[in-house]
């Protein structure tokens, strides 16, 4: 096979894809191909129905053989989708894969323009620019980096637990970092799980103890990731371990210290029970907490506040596990892949003031009710309201802080099902009449609709209408002393006032308050609502735009337990795929410094977001670590002496592209230049 790469003459192959009707409907592909065929240097110009299909790729390879092509331009969809496909096709045809340029005439042209004539003109302009550009493409080499097989999982909810166990069971070493004193996340707070009504603790705690005892998992609770540097396969992670003032290795969770605390009764709001009960300064979140180790809260402990405590807890511990002098420690680990499963927070019901949360004691959020009916909850599972009464009627308001442009626009997906579950459980626990106020029941899931049917048959009332307000002024004697829910029963077509003893607000799911900080630390993106953004909503749901960082669970969007677990498994599999490949191919679009031109001004060094630029004190020049460089181009633009150049984006390529775009026709000159360069 003749080597076409350096035979002096440009022989460009141009291919325009119809993409079925996606492009062809809005762009005159035949006219486009005919126009490009007349440009200098273009040897072949074709249009084809699906360039990404096997026949489409073979067409390129055949043309390289038959026509001696040495540059390829494909005008089709986004490079994100198919740049790799075409590079491989070009490589198979015997060319360097970087002698290829892709033009996006689908997302950038046919999908966004209405006028066919103007769209065709734009496609011509963009294609002409690419044809001018490929003259200057250089032969580049692929680069590979080794992948560290260890993994980091951030967040120990059900998604993090499942991802960590999956990786650990496959023999990978996993670091699981959790902010709270125990793993388990929101699921540990739930009473039962829909639609099967398994007890949440019964199915979760075995997994929690499996995490604790797994030889491949290093569990760091009460810890936070503070810094991440490095790149795919070689991340360096700093973890801050907050002091719990208990030696984790010595404590066995006998709870003697809690009994002996100078506080005879709990005094501070228990976070795990949503503030429905009180805890002491020394506490354990719940009986099955993992690790089974108590924690001292320095904010409330007398010894930390005044230093004048009898310290009965220390005396009570016969293992000497309590160490009030413990300090914050920092750990540094090297990992190859990272899975983020940082979860969600529930919507703050105070933001919808007309539902009376915080104003009327008997208005609860759903998470509070989960604790209230839980056997290990503040009331031991008995349904006793804040005012000590037992409710005879309960109203459950769906979509609180969801599907609402005034708060959150999205559907939180889980509220319908957990409201049905709570309706069932509340009826079961108290025999109360239960009213559900809903906009739509979204029970799309395996056995979900059947569960809805079951709850309907239990004679739970379903009123299709969004509640306007919860008030306490009675319009008739039957409403005295009750909370009144006012809603339109849209099925019957009348406005109703329903007096109830207890109101449950089915609050939606939101990104965590620190989602933006986490996003920045791990260098990933968020969608507009603030959830972590996946690489592709359908085809890469657990990948992010940062290689080696994966997302799982509700940090990516509202999700129930089955979906979170499925996603965690998928994220673990993706991480394993990277690890088992052993090395990863890097884009050769890195920047490099021409040493003789570098003045050593150091202006590029602080700009680099990846800390890839270092300064050589002996030569007084900067140099770039190629493995760290991500090819963002910041330093290239900033260098005052123009000594930094970037592969695939060097000055000649960019200027030629601009000239092509503006139809400044000096292609003959380029041809000479390109031969000179090539």
């Amino acid at each position: 096979m003749p080597n076409h790469q350096n035979n002096g003459n440009m022989r460009i192959g141009y291919y325009v894809c119809h993409c079925g009707h996606n492009i062809a409907n809005q762009v005159d592909v035949e006219a486009l191909a005919a126009y490009i065929s007349k440009l200098p240097g273009v040897a072949v110009s074709r249009s084809y129905k699906y360039m990404c299909s096997d026949p489409g790729q073979e067409l390129i390879q055949q043309d390289i053989k038959d026509h001696g092509l040495n540059r390829i331009v494909v005008a089709s969809c986004s490079p994100l989708l198919h740049e790799q496909t075409f590079r491989k096709a070009v490589e198979k045809g015997g060319l360097n894969p970087y002698f290829f340029q892709m033009v996006n005439i689908r997302e950038n042209v046919s999908w966004v323009h209405e006028d066919r004539k103007e769209a065709t003109q734009k496609a011509m302009d963009l294609s002409r620019a690419a044809v001018h550009r490929v003259f200057f493409h250089k032969e580049l080499e692929k680069k590979y980096v080794k992948i560290n097989p260890d993994a980091l999982v951030v967040g120990g909810g059900i998604a993090g637990i499942h991802a960590a166990l999956t990786l650990a069971n496959s023999g990978k070493k996993v670091y699981l970092v959790e902010k709270e004193p125990t793993i388990g996340g929101h699921m540990a707070q739930f009473d039962k799980t829909f639609p099967t009504l398994d007890c949440a603790a019964c199915i979760l705690t075995p997994k929690m103890s499996a995490v604790k005892s797994h030889p491949n998992i290093t569990l760091w609770t009460y810890s936070e990731v503070t810094n991440v540097s490095g790149y795919v396969g070689n991340y360096i992670v700093q973890v801050k371990r907050k002091p719990r003032y208990i030696d984790e290795k010595l404590c066995v969770g006998c709870l003697a210290c809690i009994d002996e605390c100078v506080y005879k009764e709990g005094k501070y709001a228990d976070e795990f029970n949503m503030g429905l009960s009180k805890r002491k300064p020394i506490y354990m979140s719940f009986p099955q907490a993992t690790p089974k180790v108590v924690v001292i809260d320095p904010e409330t402990c007398i010894q930390f506040k005044s230093g004048k405590c009898k310290q009965t807890c220390i005396e009570s511990c016969d293992r000497g596990a309590i160490d009030l002098s413990q300090k914050e420690t920092n750990e540094e680990v090297n990992v190859g892949t990272i899975i983020l499963s940082t979860g969600y927070r529930t919507f703050d019901a105070h933001r919808v003031p007309f539902y009376g949360y915080g104003k009327y004691p008997n208005v609860y959020t759903s998470l509070e009710v989960e604790r209230l009916i839980n056997a290990s909850g503040p009331t031991g599972g008995e349904l006793i309201l804040r005012d000590g009464s037992h409710p005879k009627t309960v109203g459950i308001i769906h979509c609180v802080g969801s599907r609402d442009r005034n708060t959150n626009r999205w559907c939180s997906r889980t509220c319908c099902m957990y409201s049905l579950k709570l309706a069932h459980l509340l009826k079961e626990h108290s025999g109360a009449e239960v009213y559900n106020f809903y906009i739509d029941i979204r029970a799309a899931g395996k056995a979900y609709e059947e569960f809805y049917d079951k709850v309907l048959e239990e004679n739970v009332h379903f009123i299709r209408g969004r509640v306007a307000e919860v008030i306490d002024w009675a319009a008739n004697p039957a409403e005295e002393g009750k909370l009144i829910i006012r809603a339109e029963d849209t099925m019957i077509g009348t406005v109703r006032r329903i007096p109830v003893d207890m109101v449950v607000l089915a609050v939606g799911m939101e990104p965590r308050e620190d989602a933006q900080a986490v996003r920045k630390m791990f260098n990933i993106s968020c969608s507009t609502e603030g959830f972590f953004l996946e690489r592709h909503p359908k085809l890469a749901p657990v990948d992010t735009f940062t290689d080696g960082v994966f997302i799982a669970g509700a940090c990516q969007g509202p999700k129930d337990i089955p979906d979170s677990v499925a996603q965690a498994g998928a994220a673990a599999a993706q991480a394993m795929m990277l690890v088992d490949t052993g090395e990863v191919e890097l884009e050769p679009n890195t920047a490099f410094i021409t040493e003789e031109h570098c003045s050593g001004c150091k202006s590029c060094i602080p700009l680099c977001p990846f800390h890839a630029i270092l300064f050589n004190d002996t030569s007084k020049k900067a140099y770039i670590n190629e493995a760290l460089c991500k090819g963002c181009g910041t330093c290239v633009a900033a260098c005052p002496s123009g000594s930094i150049q970037q592969n695939m984006f060097d000055d000649a390529e960019i200027l030629a592209e601009i000239n092509g775009l503006l139809a400044i026709d000096n292609s003959e000159f380029y041809e000479k230049e390109a031969i000179h360069v090539g």
């Binding site: 007309f354 979509c399 599907r403 609402d404 442009r405 005034n406 906009i439 739509d440 299709r464 209408g465 969004r466 509640v467 306007a468 307000e469 006012r486 809603a487 339109e488 029963d489 849209t490 077509g493 009348t494 406005v495």
Partner: protein, 213 residues
């Protein structure tokens, strides 16, 4: 008190078939399918089409108890092209512009403004009963303010009763006299200075309104 139902509505006599009075089904051919889009295109109606029929507006509305169709139904019927029912309804006239529905609407539909748009449409088409009080009240009020820059209550009420229900004027006469005695009600025409400037301003506002609707 002004009666909310002074004369009742004239029934639709479009069909010659007497059985049609009992017919509950609505044929697509009887609808004005463009009506929803037309109303959505008018002032503040842009989000009308995104209604999810949750009923928050109806349950918030302090007057929905007296309406023939709840606000939610009005939005649904407008969207689906039930033009005659919507424009003949009491609902649009009962809306007292408290904006409670607009504040709570999860789709941020400007329901109060949609009601105004529908009222204007009803006036433009002349589909409400001739002596229906609410539009007459509004128009007389506006005419007096335009002429004088201030409202004169006694004159407004006399004009209003003359055009709606003369009988009511006699019924209310005693209360009027009592109010007059305490100085709360008079036939004096209050006027502002530089009335020409106000009129120019109102004219400009009207021309803007015409362009927008």
């Amino acid at each position: 008190m002004i009666s909310l139902f002074p004369l009742g509505f004239v029934e639709n006599k479009s069909s010659p078939d007497p059985r049609d009075k009992m017919r509950k089904i609505k044929y697509e051919s009887e609808l004005d399918l463009k009506f929803g889009e037309q109303m959505a295109a008018k002032a503040y109606g842009q989000k009308l089409l995104s209604c999810i029929q949750c009923g928050t507006c109806s349950s918030t509305c302090p007057l929905s108890d007296y309406m023939d169709y709840t606000p939610r139904k009005i939005i649904a019927m407008t969207r689906e092209g039930f033009r005659d029912e919507v424009l003949n309804s009491l609902t649009i006239w009962l809306c007292s512009s408290c904006y409670a529905c607009t504040v709570k609407c999860p789709r941020q539909i400007h329901i109060t403004d949609v009601m105004y748009t529908l009222k204007r449409e009803a006036i433009a088409r002349g589909v409400y009963p001739k002596r229906y009080p609410i539009p007459i009240f509004s128009r007389e009020f506006f005419n007096i303010v335009r002429k004088q820059g201030r409202n004169s209550e006694a004159i407004l009420l006399i004009k209003f009763y003359l055009k709606t229900n003369l009988f009511m004027m006699f019924k209310q006469a005693f209360m009027g006299l009592r109010l007059m005695r305490t100085g709360r009600f008079s036939f004096k025409r209050d006027k502002i200075e530089r009335i020409d400037k106000l009129q120019r301003l109102l004219k400009a506002a009207e021309s803007i309104e015409e362009v927008r609707t």
